[in-house]
Symmetry: C2
Subunit: 415 residues, 2 copies
């Protein structure tokens, strides 16, 4: 048996006891995990230095090195994240639906953990503690397949977390790290149907596409966001300016950042000069259609590819549309079903947009940046689902559970 | 473009208007579909006669021919099913969750249709009207890929339904039939990611396995049931007898029928002679382990394969276990996560079983046959999910929907 399959089997066994653990037992483990992370700051920083050194040798960009680097403050933030999880309610055991049937059978649908969750992620090592904590709180064993660049950091973090879990009496195999030195571990994880219940890829579009195509384990697709802001003819231009700027520039490299702006032709004359100036001042390059180009010298002509691109950089595609329905058509063609915003004071326009746009989140007179578990008040987030099955939008603890029907009778038989 | 991809594209376009249709519009379509089916009884029966004739020529069994045959009474039952759907509440637009965030943003999570649903099914042509109706009521366009044996019947039914839909002003392409003369249409459907939102295979284990392995469209797995009844040492033997007999014999060929019986060793002496006699009287062949064999001459020795088999016939595997945990281990090894039953008067035993068994439905002192949408009071059922993602157990109308967050602000930006 391959190492991954052995680890998945061990996770499956651990998941049986973990699924039956009480909230108190799980919270105790989360709090000890937090304490031990802080106590191990020196060891974790030392392990991280190896990754940082290797990263520099491999010529990672300064931004990448920054994301990779763990400081005592960042380790404290990881610990605090685990403590916040302990304070959140336990979704397991929630009664989703219940009734007594006509024949006296008592029907209850209750939340239960998935069992074993696989997470494939890139980049920052703090995701390791976050993901382990969210899975533990929701009663799931987790198989973590992190980035090869964070090998040594992740190993140090997981060793600390496993020991803490075991010391509170829960199975250490609740949290396991998969080999990140080879692509084979991802491949084996994707084929571990029956052992792994759900696979969540967190990362760039190519990782997510590969997992979706090859996995026989059910997948929750996350995160690719080609988000639009549509400024309607009935928009309040001040609100429109604020929302466009915030949606594009508040943080450039994340999935809920706006990548495209559509402006109704009726207000193009008034709005485009303003927004092009402000985007320019903010250092954003505008890739515009022919009509947009006529409003600014610095507009780069947009290609077909621009409309479909999630830039994750200081770029935005901008087009003029002749109606709300044209905007909807454009979004249907190029959107990725993440977040779409409309700026309008017209109730009819906002209702039509909200009803007809096919996305996880629709923002009405609000920044696309609000699509986020902590902004929505969920307290913890494992990712933002852009698929329609199971979970759509920010996924908190309940989204990491399934349900089970428990039906109680007194010798009932079907007639 | 292949025919299937063209049909999927047409379905996608139709789904936009259908998703925005009101309950009144959808119910009007369902009621006209029902009326037109009844009015077309003669044509449908004539089309069905072609399938029946071809079936006989292909030497289908009498049972298969019976399942294939449409009579005026069966067509009326299909029409009545559509009328019942019209009477059910519309899941679309239900507010699943809602709150006002600290910054004043109004958050609502509302149910929306998936968009386009693909259904691959075998056997009876009445599934065609059922599935079309359930999808329409839940606001989904549907691509139906029925059995090659029901080609002519399905074509006649779908022609009637499409005309009725169009006559009420909804898009006819809401309901489309895929080519059932070739396996290629199933393959194309499985790869139509982006056009088809969900694929539901309904049929035997081999169909479901093929779809799960090959589909890049998200799949809801249905229906394979190797269901167990565990008779605990604290069982009421009268209830146990009634439930075992009902679970096994009330209907042999369906997924919620019990295929395996586990008896606690402490009560084997008292219970096995009774249950073996009654199963024998009911014409059921018992495949037993060594301990079971000592209680009856007619017991066939159970092989390893027996424990894993969903017989769908007058056969049952029977084993003796020394504890509740041994029963749980056995079920974990051989169960398919459909329905598992315990017969016991012990609260501790039933709680432990319900908490630890990993299945869509757990029956406590009740027949496995109760895992069924209509028995659960859902009014309509598209299948029984045995996966953990999205839906688990009987799937009614809400299970055919996704959700969308609608967030309303007044120019809100993120700080």
């Amino acid at each position: 048996m391959s190492t991954v399959l052995q680890q998945a089997t061990d996770a499956r066994v651990a998941s049986i006891d973990l699924a039956a653990a009480t909230r108190a037992e799980k919270d105790r483990a989360l709090l000890l995990m937090a304490t031990r992370l802080e106590e191990s700051t020196g060891d974790i920083v030392k392990a991280n230095e190896i990754d940082v050194r290797n990263g520099r040798a491999a010529s990672l960009s300064d931004a990448m090195i920054d994301r990779l680097t763990l400081t005592p403050a960042r380790i404290k933030a990881m610990a605090d994240g685990l403590r916040e999880l302990a304070a959140l309610p336990d979704p397991v055991g929630d009664v989703v639906r219940g009734s007594t049937l006509a024949n006296g059978l008592e029907l209850r649908q209750v939340r239960v953990p998935f069992g074993v969750v696989g997470i494939v992620y890139e980049g920052r090592p703090n995701v390791t503690a976050d993901a382990a904590g969210i899975c533990l709180k929701s009663g799931n064993a987790v198989l973590l397949r992190g980035s090869g660049s964070a090998l040594s950091s992740n190993a140090a973090i997981v060793a600390v977390l496993r020991e803490a879990v075991a010391d509170t009496g829960l199975p250490a195999d609740t949290i396991q790290l998969l080999d990140a030195t080879t692509r084979d571990s991802v491949k084996e994880l994707m084929r571990a149907r029956g052992l792994v219940d759900v696979l969540i890829p967190r990362g760039g579009a190519s990782l997510i596409k590969a997992v979706v195509e090859e996995s026989t384990v059910p997948v929750i697709e996350t995160g690719v966001g080609n988000c639009h802001v549509y400024v309607d003819e009935a928009a309040d231009l001040e609100k429109a300016l604020a929302v466009v700027l915030n949606s594009k520039t508040q943080r450039l490299s994340v999935c809920n950042t706006a990548e495209s702006l559509l402006v109704h032709s009726e207000i193009a004359d008034r709005f485009l000069p303003l927004v092009l100036a402000e985007l320019g001042d903010a250092g954003v390059t505008v890739h515009g259609d022919a009509r947009v180009s006529s409003y600014g010298d610095s507009v780069v002509p947009a290609t077909e590819e621009d409309w479909a691109t999630e830039y994750l950089s200081a770029d935005i595609s901008v087009g003029v549309v002749d109606s709300l329905d044209d905007a909807l058509d454009h979004i249907r063609r190029y959107g990725t079903g993440h977040t779409e915003a409309i700026i309008s004071e017209s109730l009819a326009a906002t209702r039509r947009f909200a009803a007809r746009v096919d996305a996880a989140a629709v923002m009405i007179n609000a920044s696309t940046r609000f699509t986020d578990g902590s902004e929505f008040g969920f307290g913890a987030e494992i990712g933002i689902s852009t698929q329609k099955l199971h979970a759509r939008g920010p996924m908190g603890l309940p989204e990491l559970t399934s349900t089970k029907y428990i039906v109680t009778g007194n010798g009932h038989t079907r007639g």
